[in-house]
Symmetry: C2
Subunit: 251 residues, 2 copies
């Protein structure tokens, strides 16, 4: 069923939450939209940008946000689905395009990037992502746990810096413990680890510790964990993955 769309849908990243980290492009996109769809917590962060607009606060999963946005676009509206961080990283964009595919729909879509949690946390922690890195989400809502285990193993073995998203989920810290045990087969216990939770709020918590000392039982669900590679060091309370200029190299 190919439904004609007169409207437009924008998938807009608002960054970690502070107004000063919303790009002018995202601000402008929200300004153009007549309908703003998002989690109520996300809508609260941009209340100053949405006065007079139709707001649809959706606590359920992104599929429902996608459905609503398309319903609005079919009536000719310009709808924005707003997302914390960046819409393309463990967020709405893949879900939205998947919804289009599944329902055989075509639409005018614009994706507006935002500062995602990894970039924000890295800046606050120092320069932990200075080298090659792997982003892995521990939630198995999107990939089977066996696939995730294999990714953790490969990333650890090949000495990638590893950014672990969604470390807890509904089951608690069991999988995080397993993930850290896998990484521990390839890295020394005192490998630096940087943790950031409650990003961009007054309760933001930054911890630079070692892999062995991560207290998995005490983590907040929104923690991003960055595990260093074999070269990562700490300096003056920061975590840094080196980016040396090797003599003789020149590619």
């Amino acid at each position: 069923m190919l439904v004609p769309m007169n409207g437009k849908i924008m998938l807009v990243g608002i960054g970690p939450g502070q107004p000063e980290m919303i790009t002018p492009q995202a601000r402008e996109a929200i300004g153009r939209a007549g309908v703003i769809i998002g989690h109520p917590d996300t809508l609260a962060l941009i209340a100053m940008l949405t006065q007079g607009k139709e707001l649809l606060a959706v606590t359920s999963n992104p599929l429902e946000r996608s459905r609503l946005a398309l319903e609005k676009a079919q009536t000719g509206a310009t709808a924005a689905i707003v997302s914390n961080g960046d819409p393309g990283i463990y967020a709405i964009a893949a879900t939205f395009f998947g919804y289009l595919k599944e329902h055989n729909l075509s639409a005018d879509v614009e994706v507006v990037p935002g500062i995602n949690l990894a970039l924000y946390a890295a800046a606050r922690i120092g320069a932990p992502l200075g080298g090659d890195f792997a982003a892995i989400s521990l939630t198995d809502q999107c990939a089977p746990w066996e696939t995730i285990q294999k990714r953790i193993t490969s990333a650890a073995e090949a000495d990638f810096v590893i950014a672990l998203f969604n470390p807890l989920g509904r089951l608690g810290p069991e999988r995080l413990k397993e993930a850290l045990a896998i990484i521990g087969r390839f890295r020394r216990p005192n490998t630096p680890a940087g943790l950031l939770s409650q990003a961009a709020t007054h309760n933001e918590n930054i911890l630079i510790t070692t892999m062995a000392q991560i207290e998995t039982e005490k983590l907040a669900a929104d923690t991003l964990i960055i595990i260093g590679n074999s070269q990562t060091y700490t300096l003056d309370g920061r975590m840094v993955t080196p980016r040396p200029y090797l003599p003789g190299a020149g590619y």
Copy 2:
């Protein structure tokens, strides 16, 4: 030698280049700085923000930018080193902290994140980074080629989406060809690949193709290449890595 620093150094990401993608936070940081240090091309992108400031255009490597910023901070200045994209991803931040470490210096440093090339390109291409992904730079200025080869192999084997930065370098496309051959051992030739070059300019070039059809001889040096995982598909001229909600999963 621990030199007292009266000034401050900010490492500021300006995003891909358009003024509307510079965050208000980065804009404010540049406003606070008396001295702005960067590649001349980067300085040109923010000329509207730097009137009346001391500008130091440095074409040589980031070590020289770091040295200059510290020299200025020692005289009490607030210096900003500006970087395209994000300072923490294959950019100045790791180099700068490494310079501090090597010279046993301590300084007041602030890192200001920006939309990096991967987030920007992903938004333009669709949602190619929708799942777990690995970021790999092909330049061996920073890691030995053997290490990079191992990372490519592991990332391909574990079905990560792979973002290849700096695909050419001074040697031409030989290593890129080798990288694609490695990935080709684990993925089908028609795996979607998204390429973006000349980001955020009038000459921006976006190509969605397949891994086998990447024309390595014709690439611009600033191309970002995103190779899909086994699930990545194309839809209406976009490239999407799915983020399904698996039945029965619930972590």
